[in-house]
Symmetry: C3
């Protein structure tokens, strides 16, 4: 599954423009490189249009947004839309402050997104127009479980219909869906929430995959989510052998992003279509 998607990333080595937060930006750049793509970070208003023009995809992450960078996000997003480059939104902390919620909607009004990726609390904020996200982590009460999965799929498809974007919800169970079709992915490991940036890294990976597969956004986003989840599992298995902690886990996670190929993915992917 997703063989061509992955091969395209490696062969086309897309250039990914990111306007992102300064907390996890290094992990994002290394993730993009690990999968075979190439990153460029640029956030000044005077260059974002030009930079995004030479790229194949744009990732907007509002993790440490400020007035200056919000303007750059909008400028870059509009230019990427003009050029039909896929644009990925990671609404980090939407619901945690009115600035983040407001900015998320300002971006949605001005930019056509190919993919919106977030944890379930962030995506619910986008769905409802308001939220009570606890910081940058998902609320426990929001978590997608086997019990509420059906309902979650319905609302994800509905949000995709409304935004015309593929919606990717990350958590113990991932949902990646457009208005008609949902992938449910059960890869991953709980330790992924004990390091910073796994969400941001996934958004970057989705950006790289979409940049190499602009005509197959749903599968690109689902493939990236699967690779990230499987990398999280394999990293955990290796971690146990070396008796490491959370920082070694982060290293192994990016290692596996650089090592997973079509065959490894096929051997480990736990995916279902709904």
């Amino acid at each position: 599954m997703f063989e061509e998607i992955i091969r395209n990333v490696r062969e086309k080595s897309p250039l990914v423009h990111s306007i992102t937060n300064y907390v996890t930006v290094n992990d994002c750049a290394n993730t993009i490189l690990a999968c075979g793509a190439s990153p460029i970070m640029a956030d000044d208003q005077n260059e974002v249009e030009e930079i995004t023009s030479i790229c194949n995809a744009l990732v907007i992450n509002i993790g440490t947004l400020n007035e200056r960078t919000i303007k750059s996000m909008i400028k870059a997003g509009k230019k990427a839309n003009e050029l039909n480059h896929p644009v990925v939104l990671d609404p980090v902390g939407a619901g945690a402050s009115s600035l983040r919620t407001k900015t998320t909607f300002e971006l949605l009004e001005n930019i056509r997104f190919a993919v919106i990726r977030g944890n379930v609390s962030e995506i619910k904020t986008v769905y409802k127009g308001s939220g009570t996200t606890k910081g940058v982590d998902a609320d426990v009460s929001d978590a997608i479980t086997e019990e509420n999965l059906e309902e979650a799929i319905t609302f994800t498809k509905e949000l995709s219909r409304r935004t015309d974007a593929v919606i990717a919800i990350s958590g113990a169970i991932d949902i990646v869906a457009d208005k008609n079709k949902a992938y449910v992915i059960r890869n991953g490991n709980a330790l992924m929430s004990r390091i910073t940036g796994t969400g941001c890294m996934l958004a970057s990976l989705i950006g790289a995959y979409c940049g190499a597969n602009p005509d197959n956004i749903l599968d690109a986003a689902a493939a990236a989510s699967s690779v990230m989840g499987l990398a999280g599992e394999l990293a955990f298995e290796k971690l146990r052998k070396v008796d490491g902690g959370t920082s070694t886990y982060r290293t192994f996670l990016i290692d596996y992003i650089s090592k997973i190929d079509e065959k490894t993915l096929n051997g480990g992917i736990k995916i279902e279509i709904r």
Copy 2:
């Protein structure tokens, strides 16, 4: 020792708001996660009050301060004071430039700090009102030794009396004191000064520990300092087995922060009350 302090961090998983420098921010976020707490970094004036309101503690680190973020620090600090959230100050490089020294005093005038953590040169700058810090590292001439320890404890207690904050001085010998009581901690390893961010990481850890133990700030700060020091020792022991260098050491250091529990700490802590 400190069993309840550590258990509280794990059980309450406090949310820690940080306004910090972009050099070590990723290590700070991963340190907060490693100990069982949750980080959020936000520095825009339009959201810092709201963000700090949903948190349990605030850490202000002036490592790469600028006009924009200084305003945010003051806004966030005042709001955290209003809500009685513990606020930690890390006056990185105070004494190295007049901007840093001036900002440190501006913050001290406007915000009531629960803990002020720095190397001995930074803390001496706070004490004297001026300083000659060599960059972001402590001056050798300032170092706390067994010879000047008594004197150092006296000045630390005196500074605590003046600022009404717990003072945490990090170095080969750590002192963590309020006006009446000083913990002297002899954990740690010299290699900690060969990687960037051990001071910033400790300030973050203190923030997490204080967020979970707001009624016991002195012990929270001392426990965090002990854990950091012991992690530095255990990381060094492990490093020797794998013949690694400074970057592996950084990884192991954060690993141990994620692995040290009450029992490990009790087995390794070298602490004295003065």
Copy 3:
């Protein structure tokens, strides 16, 4: 070779001021520490002159430049020139946007650089006054090979004559030259381009080496390039033994920067004078 250069870094432990991008800043700080020097990052206009005054070298990296930091770069650079501190320029992405190209030339007009370090596309942009850099990576068509090496050396020496700076081009084959003499260095490993920041880290290392060897800039820059290349080779050898990926490679790379001494360098350096 370069024994004294390396010994000076360790013995003088120069303080290096960096105004750099937020993507790789942590790696840059850790690289500076790894080689035995000391980093300070500061980019606010109100302190850069004072900070650079207490340092031994300044590194300017335009990786995520913006209007605010460009002003700080010029202020800091002029002050460092006044004090005769070596200043290193890393024109990241020059040629990829007109802002980056324009800023590179603005910096060159206002500041006297000791070393200009870039990939071949960035350096060609400096040479020609315009360029078509693909993002922050070198264009394949620009690559220095055994076939065009002679020509590349000639243009590097010519650019050194024009700028009065040592020119350091990094790639599969490195050239480090002043107007009269070129070092050709064949150390390194292809995996270095699969992690972010190896170029930035090298510019930081050059800054540290020049700070400790202000009277021997050419050899300092060549020694730093050799150490970085050899670290890349040794890291790759070790990586194969642990079956790691790109993130472990980054860790090992910095590890070796902290471990390579005069003897190791002499055993592995592949250098030629032209």
